[in-house]
């Protein structure tokens, strides 16, 4: 008897990614560069977040041709993005055999009220969060992996830091609370009581949590690890830099050796220009991807 798509199988896949870097790629060639640099998975998409931000319009699931090309090009897991609440995009990606679906705020939401009921799928999902309540709701729907949202496509780490600190501070608070305080905390966070009991018992989130949304340099990746991320997603940071191969390798190594500062100094030398960043206050509130989803 074998069982497919169990929580353990879906969450376990994310456990294998820990300490690694998942890179956004838009074609087979970029996927090969990412794999050779030591990425633990690639995220296939049509445009990286900074291009989505620049071009405007509606951002959707990538052309299946691109995703297929990437799946053929590499042996590491391939993830792909579906719009928030877009049941059919998610089912299409599952039918194509992608290894993980990102129900992502980087794409234009298909549903402004309801996220996907992810526990109905065999394929596992990763979702974004900015705080413990959001993390709890996504896990409640069946997400098997989380990533803090940050602000995608900016090359600015400030929002990623804010969200990771927020989630971890709230986890620590729950862990130190007494049992009789948890129900009120559950109401305040918009999280289920059972979820908070589990966080308290484990002393951490029940699924792997990566950092995303603004990682542009090896030091940024190491910072996320230092703050307690299980790994990092790098979107525009690699293929919008001057020298993607070197940036990719350096970010992978800085993630593994995140407390070896001499090494990070070496890795950061003469890397060329990182992606041009965006100051968050210059982005109109309505343009912030992190506000998508709830």
């Amino acid at each position: 008897m074998s069982e497919h798509g169990t929580d353990r199988v879906k969450r376990g896949m994310a456990e294998m990614q820990k300490g690694g870097v998942i890179m956004d790629v838009v074609n087979a060639e970029q996927a090969r560069i990412a794999e050779a640099a030591g990425a633990t998975a690639v995220m296939a998409l049509e445009r990286v977040p900074s291009d989505i931000r620049r071009d405007g319009g509606v951002a959707r699931m990538a052309d299946p041709h691109i995703t297929e090309e990437v799946m053929k090009a590499v042996s590491i897991p391939v993830m792909a993005k579906a719009r928030i609440g877009h049941i059919v995009e998610a089912r299409v990606l599952e039918a194509m055999g992608v290894d993980y679906i990102d129900e992502s705020e980087v794409l234009t939401p298909a549903d402004e009220e309801f996220h996907l009921l992810k526990n109905q799928y065999t394929v596992p999902f990763v979702c974004g969060c900015r705080n413990l309540g959001e993390a709890a709701r996504r896990i409640g729907e069946g997400a098997s992996m989380l990533r803090t949202k940050g602000e995608p496509g900016t090359g600015n780490i400030v929002e990623a830091v804010r969200h990771l600190r927020q989630v971890n501070a709230e986890v620590r608070k729950v862990v130190t609370m007494s049992e009789d305080e948890l129900m009120t905390e559950a109401r305040n966070l918009g999280a289920s009581y059972e979820f908070l009991k589990e966080v308290k018992r484990l002393g951490r989130l029940p699924v792997v949590n990566f950092a995303a949304g603004g990682v542009a340099t090896p030091a940024d990746a190491a910072l996320m690890m230092e703050l307690g991320a299980d790994g990092v997603f790098v979107g525009s940071g690699i293929f919008k830099s001057d020298n993607p191969e070197r940036f990719a390798r350096a970010i992978v190594e800085a993630t593994t050796h995140y407390q070896d500062y001499k090494l990070i100094a070496e890795l950061s030398k003469d890397l060329g220009i990182a992606m041009k960043g965006i100051e968050i206050s210059t982005i109109a509130a309505g343009e912030r991807m992190q506000e998508r989803g709830w």
Binding site: S2, G12, E15, M16, K18, G20, G38, I76, V123, P124
Partner: protein
């Protein structure tokens, strides 16, 4: 107390550390060649074998790991770790460490949607062992000195070749520490400090 290293470049390091410590040994994360000194045994965890291999090369770990194997100390590879140990990897000109006398095929059960958990019959361990397979490899052939410890649907998923133990699945993802315990018993003089088979068994 026995000192057991866990290659800590990437992957399910935390889970192996917990399992080793639950069995009464000291777990040491290994990132650099110097970390291999004074270890009694070494675990190569699950993760992505291509990512681990690149970091092994980049940080000069290949020769020290082969020397470790040469020294005769026990090594245990789970999933990606099994791929690192194998003498042959299907589709690759050269193996990684190439020390365990088995040939393996990567992702041989399919993609993530084909990943599964199943109850296995493992030689020397009371049935069943609940095993988690994630984009798992399997052993397509094994040398004459290799003992097959478990098959699933006709595929070899666990084997021992002298000091080397390898499995396709992830015992570290469950709270059942019997396979870690089995491995720790491969350390000379390791038995005394360990609990007998079964006592750590909890079905989750």
């Amino acid at each position: 107390m026995k000192r057991v290293g866990v290659l800590a470049l990437q992957g399910a390091v935390r889970e192996h550390v917990q399992s080793i410590e639950a069995c009464g040994a000291k777990a040491i994360p290994v990132k650099w060649p110097r970390d291999l000194e004074e270890l009694d045994a070494l675990v190569l965890p699950g993760g992505e074998s291509t990512a681990m291999r690149r970091l092994i090369d980049r940080y000069g770990l290949m020769e020290p790991l082969r020397d470790f194997a040469q020294s005769g100390r026990p090594m245990f590879g789970t999933c990606a770790g099994l791929i690192l140990l194998a003498r042959e990897v299907v589709g690759q000109d050269r193996p990684h460490l190439g020390v365990m006398d088995v040939a393996v095929e990567r992702n041989s059960f399919g993609r993530q949607i084909d990943s599964f958990e199943a109850e296995l019959a493992v030689a020397g361990i009371e049935e069943p062992f609940n095993a988690v397979f994630i984009r798992a490899p399997h052993i397509i052939s094994a040398g004459p000195q290799t003992q097959i410890l478990c098959e699933h649907n006709g595929k070899i998923v666990m084997a021992r070749n002298g000091q080397f133990l390898g499995c396709s699945f992830h015992p570290e993802l469950t709270d059942d520490h019997r396979i870690t315990n089995y491995f720790l018993n491969m350390i000379p003089g390791g038995t005394g400090t360990l609990l007998p088979n079964g006592t750590l068994y909890s079905k989750v």
